[in-house]
Amino acid sequence: MEEWKLRPARDLGLRPLDRLRSLGRESGLVSLALNATWRRSVRAYLATAHRFRVEGRENLPAGPPFVLIANHASHLDALALSAALRGEAARRAHAMAAGELFFGSAARSAMAAYAINALPVWRGRSRRGDLDTMRTRLAEDSLVYILFPEGTRSRTGAMAPFQPGLGMLVAGTQIPVVPCWLEGARAAWPAESRTPRPGRPLHLTIGPALRFPDARNDRTGWEAVSTAAEAAVRRLAPRGMQPGPPEPSSN
C-alpha cells in the first residue's frame, strides 16, 4: 500500500493575479473547460485558415511527462504545437511564455493562464529557482511543456542557438524531449505583424524523442542537452535549415 497524502494545490493562498502568474498554477474544472474550448477553437482555426498538417505524430510519447521543443518564429508556434497534442497530453500541456509580454497586465495574464495555459518565464529574474520549480513539476505533476529554447522569436527565419534552460529541466531524467520543426509560421504570423495572415500553410514535423538520463545536472550537462536538442531540431528542417523555403504544394 502506498502512503496517501493530502496535497493542497501548489498555488493555494495566492491572491488571484499572483496565482495566474505562478509557476505552481494548477487547473481546476473552470480552467480546464476554458482551455479545452480555446484549444478546439485554435485547432479549427489552424485547420481552416492555415491548412495545418502534422507529420510524425507517432513519435509523440504515449503520455506525459515530456517536453516539446521547436524552432520559434511566431506567436502561432505554441498554438500549433499544442494543437498537435491530444487527450491527457493536451490537457496537461503548458507553453512557456515571456512573462513581460504575456503576463504584463491582469487581462493578459488571465488570457495566458486560462486560454493558452501558459507559464511565465521572466527575462533575467530568479531563473534558477523558477527552473527548479518547473523541473520538479514536470515529473511530479506529469506535465507537458512546450518550449522554444532559442529564447525569442526569430526575425529572419534562421534558427538561433539554443539556451541551456531546457537542460535544466530534463538533464539526468528519463523524461523524453520531442524535437519538432514548424514550417510556415513566420509567413503565417511574422514577429513584425500584430495579427496572423490567414491562407498561409503551416506544417509541423515531429521527430523521434531524445532522452538524457546520463547528462549531468550542471552547466556542462545542460549545454550538452541543448546542443543535442538543437541538432535534432535542425535535422527536421526542410533542405537543411534554409530560411523561408517554399512550401510543398501537396496537401
Binding site: W4, P8, P16, E26
Partner: protein, 327 residues
C-alpha cells in the same frame, strides 16, 4: 408553515428588525473603529485588520441578506453560488480538485440538489443525499485506479454532504412564504455566535477549548456564545413562531442552543481540516477573513440541523405548489 403576515419583503417585523439591527451594528462598529483610529489607542496593523474586516462585512452583508429580501429564487441562487465557492476552496485545499471526474460529479450534485430546492421537490431533494453518496462511491471505479480510492471517495462524500446536501437546506427554507425572518435570523445569529465566542473568550479567558484544533478558542468563549446566541434566537423565535407548536420556551431554547452548538461545531470542523492540511486560511477572497469557507463554516451544520427541527414541528411550504419546474 412559518406564520407570516401578508405583504412584501418587509411585512414581518422581525425582517425589518434584523435589517435595521444589522445596519445599526455596522454603523456603530464603524464609528468605534474610527474612534479607535483617531484616539491612537490601537497599533496601526491592528487598526488596519479591523478596517479590512469591517469593509469585508460591508460588502458581504448586502450579498448575504439582499437575496433573502429579493425572494425565493434569489435565495436559492445565492446558496448555490455559495456552495460552489465553498467546494472550490475545499477541493483546492485538500487536493480533491485533481480528481476531475469526482469534482465534476460533486458540482453536478450541488447543482441538482439546489435545483430540487428551486423546483420545490422535497422527494428528490432528500433522495439526492444517498443517491449522490452511491454515485460518488462508484464514479471512479471505471478509471481502474484503486490506489487512493478510499481517501478520494471519502473526501468527495464529505464535500457533497457539507456543501451540497447540507447547505442546500438553507435555500430550501425559502419555499416557505414565511422564510425571510428565519433565514435572516440564522445568517445573523451564526455571525453573532462567532463574535460572541471571540468576545467572551477575550473578556473571561481561562482554559483552551481544543488547543490542538484551534489554539485561540476558550471554554469560556464557547459557553458565552451558547448563552448569548441561545438567548437571542429564543427571544426572536418567540416573534417568528408565535402561535405554532414551536412557540414553547423549551423548544425555542433548544433551537437557540442548536444554532450555537452546530455553528461552533462547523467552525471546529473547518479548523480540523485546516490543521490536518497545515494551512491557516482556506483562501484569500475576503480580506481580513480569509476564504469564503473561513466565513461560512458555521453555517454548514446549522442549515440542516435547524431545517429538520422546524420541519418536524411545522414543515416548510406545505401549502405551496410543488414541482414548479418539473411539473
Amino acid at each position: 408553515m412559518i406564520p407570516h403576515p401578508p405583504g412584501g419583503a418587509f411585512a414581518h417585523p422581525v425582517t425589518t428588525g434584523i435589517i435595521l439591527a444589522t445596519i445599526a451594528v455596522l454603523t456603530v462598529s464603524g464609528l468605534a473603529i474610527l474612534w479607535l483610529s483617531k484616539s491612537g489607542r490601537a497599533k496601526p496593523e491592528f487598526r488596519r485588520e479591523l478596517w479590512l474586516r469591517w469593509a469585508s462585512w460591508c460588502v458581504l452583508l448586502p450579498l448575504m441578506l439582499g437575496p433573502v429580501l429579493l425572494g425565493r429564487p434569489w435565495t436559492i441562487g445565492a446558496v448555490t453560488i455559495l456552495a460552489l465557492l465553498c467546494y472550490r476552496e475545499y477541493a483546492r485545499a485538500t487536493g480533491l480538485f485533481r480528481e476531475r471526474l469526482l469534482s465534476l460529479v460533486i458540482v453536478l450534485g450541488i447543482l441538482a440538489v439546489n435545483f430540487a430546492a428551486l423546483d420545490h421537490w422535497y422527494g428528490f431533494f432528500v433522495a439526492l443525499w444517498p443517491l449522490m453518496a452511491c454515485l460518488l462511491a462508484v464514479a471512479t471505479i471505471p478509471l481502474d485506479r484503486p490506489a487512493g480510492y478510499i481517501q478520494r471517495t471519502a473526501l468527495a462524500i464529505l464535500a457533497f454532504m457539507l456543501f451540497g446536501a447540507g447547505l442546500a437546506h438553507l435555500g430550501y427554507m425559502a419555499n416557505d412564504p414565511g422564510y425571510r425572518p428565519l433565514v435572516l435570523l440564522l445568517l445573523t445569529a451564526v455571525a453573532l455566535n462567532d463574535v460572541a465566542a471571540f468576545t467572551c473568550g477575550k473578556l473571561i479567558g481561562g482554559p483552551k477549548l481544543l488547543p490542538a484544533t484551534s489554539p485561540n478558542k476558550t471554554i469560556s468563549g464557547a459557553l458565552g456564545a451558547v448563552v448569548v446566541t441561545t438567548t437571542l434566537v429564543a427571544l426572536v423565535g418567540v416573534a417568528i413562531f408565535r402561535g405554532t407548536p414551536l412557540a414553547n420556551p423549551v423548544w425555542l431554547i433548544a433551537m437557540g442552543a442548536l444554532v450555537s452548538v452546530a455553528g461552533q461545531a462547523g467552525d471546529l470542523l473547518l479548523s480540523s481540516i485546516k490543521r490536518d492540511l497545515g494551512i491557516k486560511d482556506m483562501g484569500t477572497v475576503l480580506p481580513g477573513h480569509g476564504g469564503v469557507l473561513d466565513r461560512f463554516n458555521s453555517l454548514l451544520l446549522v442549515a440542516p440541523a435547524i431545517f429538520h427541527l422546524v420541519q418536524y414541528f411545522l414543515g416548510f411550504g406545505l401549502t405551496q405548489p410543488t414541482r414548479l419546474i418539473t411539473g
